[in-house]
Symmetry: C2
Subunit: 187 residues, 2 copies
């Protein structure tokens, strides 16, 4: 496959850097393409050569975040080993610690004026984590659509994260993990 053109690398770096600079002072939806290009010293036409919206640029960070989320899941985590393994077991995901680590990004992703795109990507990732590693020891219950169940469970966890976000991430990640365990024990 063809080489990566250095010019493209430099342009994208400049645009990324400019976006990060701007994000310190204003929300994603208030940042214009012209503004980014002015700071990045990149021609506006060049922006359109690589992206179509400001959000596309942010989307590239998002992939990194999702990688960290996937890695979080691999980390050994013993706290909740006693939980029932027969169902989708969200508490084995170190997702709250991941969110805590990236909370500045989640403030953007979950802000009300941002499109649902990122939320859906996040939901998909969590669904994969919940099912991917569990379908071995987990046999789908009578007549339940596994996909539906996964969406149910994954979005439930996102519900906790949304609440956490709305509380401005005041509590510690460990606290939320404990809460989740308690909720799951309720039956």
């Amino acid at each position: 496959m063809g080489q990566v053109d250095l010019r493209v690398v430099k342009t994208k770096e400049a645009l990324h850097k400019a976006l990060l600079t701007l994000l310190k002072n204003k929300p994603l939806e208030a940042i214009s393409i012209s503004e980014i290009c002015r700071i990045a010293k990149v021609n506006r036409g060049t922006f359109y050569l690589h992206y179509t919206q400001v959000g596309d640029l942010f989307g590239e960070y998002f992939k990194e975040i999702m990688d960290d989320l996937a890695n979080s899941y691999q980390e050994p985590y013993r706290h909740v080993a006693k939980l029932n393994p027969k169902k989708l077991n969200p508490s084995t995901v170190r997702i709250f610690h991941h969110v805590e680590r990236y909370k500045e990004y989640y403030r953007i992703i979950l802000s009300k004026n941002v499109p649902l795109t990122y939320y859906y990507l996040l939901l998909e990732e969590v669904k994969n984590l919940l099912t991917g590693n569990l379908e071995k020891d987990y046999k789908s219950a009578e007549g339940i659509d596994p996909n539906l169940q996964a969406s149910y469970a994954a979005n439930a966890i996102l519900g906790i994260i949304i609440q956490w976000y709305q509380d401005d991430f005041e509590q510690k990640a460990n606290y939320l993990n404990e809460q989740l365990v308690k909720i799951l024990r309720l039956t």
Copy 2:
């Protein structure tokens, strides 16, 4: 309180009608303020006198939809009377039938380029339905933040709705209610 100025009523009606017309042919995020005003034969400045974004206009429909959702909950519904009343019991909500009724709107609300605002309003409404009617016979379990639990449960249901939306609302509302009951029985 002061009368409702007839001019305002007429203007808003014209704008609403224009938005609905446009929505038949293109997604919400592709509709410009200028376009709406052109069709509605309303000066663009007048738009800004009442709204700030195209989304605000859509938001007024959204309120009606939420009213219907709240009403859905009041309707008698016997199918699932046998479910454990000790926990938040989402299956008593006729939310799937409501979504089925308004699916053309939910296609907009849940489309990926639309801001999270509507999703949050929906989540809040479902949370209220789940808690409002249940806190009587429901005593909060040991050390669980009720608000967190409500977000968990409400967003879980929205997870099912999202999946349903992504499947283009192929299944019947009754099927989803049955699935939910089965998922809840799993423990």
